[in-house]
């Protein structure tokens, strides 16, 4: 009988030996997995500059002898924790920025308390962000501030920038930021106004529970969680794989609740009426048109983003009023665009080369 093309019989004993060794390692490492807590995340040295309810403003300690004049304020998405941008040394976006000479601040969120269910979009766009910008200005002694918004943090940054068109935002960088909510097809269907009674939900539960937010993310790729657990078992002998799995899994499941009134506005104004895309969005009675933004802007989108599909993000650059604007599409998904081994090679250097020359 002939060997099938490409099958190397000589390598079979070696392969069997390797698989047996991996099976033994799996058993040993499997026990280790459940008895250890995984890597410490978000450990870049920082100071809490201000904290108020759900909002925290951090200042990261500089890691460079000389820093750019313009400080950077990162606005995190309200559904997730900011440590995705500060995983572990060598895979921390924050650490990368600090080593490249940026003065970095982050507006991060903790779970809104039950009494914060009445926080509205106005509180986020007209209070929290401007308050943090003022504190960054005071702490750094600089008037100009560059803003980086991730996912829905990008939407909040866009709303802030479109209302505060006279500054002090000097540059705006958005990562995977949706503006056309009709194109978030599944989210759009989950919140179909004919069947989704957002008033009943918010009036019943107050803040929208994190389990509901997590389920809606996981429903976008229902098989992926099971497959990733199978992959974990296959690769449990590989310390690097396990470390990476634990970092991302911990972050992905560490979802935050959303303040009820804020969620009501997101559903009605953005998901149902698509007001940001239609130029009819207003926050606290103040028009928030994207054409009002005239500062330099970079929008980074991911080729395989299943949470914010490209169709939901692609019109941002066209609708912005800036002359200096650029969209960059990079390989990766919604999270791997900004964090992990691929981001180190792709997004971060691109951002540095774009922002450095605009930060003096």
């Amino acid at each position: 009988m002939n060997a099938p093309a490409g099958l190397d019989f000589a390598s079979i004993p070696e392969r069997i030996q390797s698989e047996v060794q991996r099976a033994i390692q799996r058993s040993i490492k499997g026990v280790e997995y459940f008895s250890t807590s995984g890597p410490t995340l978000g450990s870049t040295p920082k100071d809490v500059l201000h904290s108020r309810g759900t909002m925290s403003l951090y200042h990261y300690r500089p890691m460079s002898d000389e820093i750019y004049r313009v400080p950077v304020l990162i606005v995190m998405a309200t559904t997730n924790r900011g440590y995705i941008l500060d995983l572990v040394p060598g895979q921390s976006f924050i650490e990368f920025l600090l080593k490249r000479g940026y003065d970095v601040y982050m507006l991060d969120w903790s779970a809104p308390r039950p009494e914060e269910k009445s926080l509205r979009m106005e509180d986020y766009v007209l209070d929290f962000i401007p308050d943090c910008v003022r504190r960054v200005q005071a702490d750094s002694g600089e008037q100009d501030v560059s803003v980086i918004g991730y996912c829905f943090g990008g939407v909040l940054s866009l709303l802030y920038g479109s209302i505060h068109k006279d500054g002090p935002m000097k540059n705006l960088i958005c990562f995977t930021t949706p503006i056309d909510f009709r194109e978030m097809k599944l989210f759009s269907n989950f919140s179909d106004r004919r069947y989704f009674d957002v008033d009943h939900l918010v009036d019943s539960v107050g803040n929208v529970p994190p389990e509901m937010i997590l389920s809606s993310f996981e429903m976008l790729r229902p098989a992926s969680r099971t497959v990733s657990q199978i992959q974990l078992w296959e690769n449990i002998w590989n310390d690097e794989f396990v470390k990476s799995y634990r970092m991302f899994d911990r972050w992905a499941t560490d979802t935050l609740p959303l303040a009820g009134e804020y969620f009501r506005t997101i559903t009605k104004d953005l998901m149902w009426d698509n007001k940001l895309f239609n130029d009819t969005m207003s926050v606290g009675g103040r028009a928030a048109k994207l054409e009002n933004i005239t500062v330099p802007i970079l929008h980074a989108v991911a080729e395989h983003d299943h949470i914010v599909p490209y169709d939901a993000a692609k019109h941002l650059i066209a609708k912005i009023g800036s002359a200096d604007k650029e969209e960059v599409m990079l390989k990766g998904g919604h999270v791997s665009l900004v964090a992990g081994a691929n981001a180190v090679k792709r997004l971060w250097p691109k951002l540095d080369s774009w922002l450095g020359k605009r930060s003096t």
Binding site: A5, S51, R100, F190, S204, A223, I230, K357
Partner: protein
């Protein structure tokens, strides 16, 4: 080197990848229907109503047990939050005063680096 087309482990991994894609795609198609949205939201509405009723029942139980009510705990939390905010404001003001008068803000506070950095292209490629 083993050819990947005949490597059972590689074949298994490829099969898992294909199954994942296929199932996700199938499920996404099913979840795009109005019927799915209707069923999902009907179940969600019932769950939200049940959660509200359970919350009300728990509150009555706590009152019956002479335990502090939710409002009382919340009022305490708000007072604590207000004190925290005031301390934070005072700390911030002290830092500003210290900074403007040249006093080091704490024993381990390193001086801030100068804001003179130029992009690498202007420095002849240095980073």
């Amino acid at each position: 080197m083993t050819d990947k087309t005949n490597d059972p482990v590689a074949m298994w991994q490829k099969m898992m990848g294909e199954m994942e894609k296929g199932f996700n795609s199938f499920a996404n198609q099913a979840m795009s229907s109005p019927e799915f949205s209707q069923a999902l939201n009907r179940a969600g509405g019932v769950a939200a109503g049940a959660q509200k009723q359970l919350g009300e029942l728990m509150e009555k139980y706590l009152v019956a047990m002479h335990l502090p009510s939710r409002e009382q705990v919340t009022a305490l939390a708000e007072r604590l939050q207000s004190i925290e905010a005031q301390v934070s404001e005072m700390k911030s003001m002290l830092s500003q005063i210290a900074a403007s008068s040249g006093i080091p803000q704490s024993l381990d506070a390193a001086p801030r680096p100068p804001r003179t950095k130029r992009p690498p292209s202007e420095n002849g490629g240095q980073t």
